[in-house]
Symmetry: C2
Subunit: 267 residues, 2 copies
């Protein structure tokens, strides 16, 4: 349980103080937080609440979306928030194609340039940017970074303390190159965050909210955990599941089941 981190999105809607109390009672020591929930509660208040509950913020989700106007200021704000929360890692989701565009090469090049613009600010604030590859089914509308290799190539020009990558089982499990890329990520000291969720079909409309708790799908979750370990990663293991049916249940019940499934299928 020392490495387990409960990502807030797994129990979306659970008020932050209840989540903090629930985690403390279960012996959880880490949480992954989401910007919109933290903002609603107040960033400084959230930081105090976590501190008082003995919870480390293992990552802040998420910024990026470099195709949107005002992305630079928005990402700097996100870095500020991560610093206030003491989150060592800010997860970046690149955004998809600009409206009406088919130029995926240009969109990807822009992501690389945009990350470069953020590096000095991230370093100055002691926050590591973590590039997350999303499943290729999100390529057009959410994230033009589709593989761990792409994420690592984007990170390569910058020091690892400034730019790392997220290894998320839900997005990467289908890729036969992922094991080699995890090993490379370890060698290059880029694994900033490890997130676990399971792949379940049929996918729902819009495909965003169809993830499964560990053990409900077909992903070799323990193999992934062992692979990041073998690559030298010793950080938190976040379970992050977006699932509408799950969200309908009480937060404490979700947390308890998540812990149980983490133990059985990931740890």
């Amino acid at each position: 349980m020392k490495r387990f981190s409960f990502n807030q999105a797994t129990a979306k809607g659970w008020p932050l103080p209840e989540l903090a109390a629930g985690c403390a009672e279960e012996g959880v020591t880490g949480v992954g937080l989401w910007r919109e929930d933290v903002q609603e509660y107040g960033v400084h208040a959230a930081a105090a609440l976590m501190r008082d509950s003995g919870l480390a913020v293992t990552s802040l989700c998420r910024s990026g979306f470099f195709q949107q106007p005002g992305w630079l200021e928005e990402n700097k704000r996100a870095i500020d928030e991560a610093a206030i929360l003491g989150a060592p890692v800010l997860v970046l989701v690149s955004g998809g194609l600009p409206p009406g565009s088919r130029d995926i090469d240009a969109a990807r090049a822009h992501v690389g340039a945009a990350i470069g613009r953020l590096v000095p600010y991230a370093l100055a604030n002691g926050v590591q940017l973590a590039i997350e590859a999303l499943h290729p089914m999100f390529c057009s509308d959410r994230c033009v970074v589709s593989t761990l290799k792409q994420a690592l190539d984007l990170a390569a020009p910058y020091p690892p303390e400034a730019v790392g990558v997220v290894v998320d089982t839900y997005h990467l499990w289908w890729d036969d190159d992922v094991w080699a890329q995890i090993a490379r990520a370890g060698r290059e000291r880029r694994i900033a965050c490890f997130q676990a969720a399971d792949w379940v079909t049929p996918l729902p409309a819009g495909v965003l909210l169809g993830r499964g708790l560990p053990g409900t799908g077909c992903v070799e979750l323990r193999r992934f955990r062992e692979a990041v370990d073998a690559a030298g990663y010793a950080g938190p293991v976040e379970v992050e599941v977006f699932n509408e049916e799950l969200w309908a249940r009480p937060g404490r019940e979700i947390l308890a089941e998540t812990i149980g499934r983490y133990r059985t299928h990931v740890a």
Copy 2:
């Protein structure tokens, strides 16, 4: 128009004789057919109908599904059907994980072995097997072959006249490695079939029936067509779109729009 081929699935439900007449009237010379429709009409009758309508069967969709019991006999039947139809190419979709399995490496290895079992029969019947990589969102339940690279690696042990690959824009557009793999496919003389469809979001539930006609989505379709041409491919360009809204329209209307969009966005 010489290269255009109308894949039957684009106007699902259009009776075969009407499709043949419609294609002949529009000056279409090639069609891609589907096994279930051909079987329903009668394989020999369908072959005669196509011949009498001046239509070449550019590909037969589809066989594969190597995780199902009886796959060997079923695939031999499919090769027989392709030979009867005079279709030079039989499209293979590998199938997903066996029920309850998480062993994706084993599933992929089995696909390679299964294709090897089919090679002599394919060669004897003059039918080229074409391995189709499906989009990674189909990896668990339809096709463990997710990239053109994987398809080419699976084909590599066998002569190109026995085993080629399908280049389908819908499944491959997100992959930044696809241009290099198309060039490789050309060098290795593996491009057996080129299929065009556009990527449209949001995806519908189950994600199968959300493809778009050329120009309705974000795929650089002409870039793909030029890439396969540059790789030495001079064969048919099939437009293959599964879309429930489209299917609700009359077959002739679908065909006319498909031809128009092919000219504007692909040719």
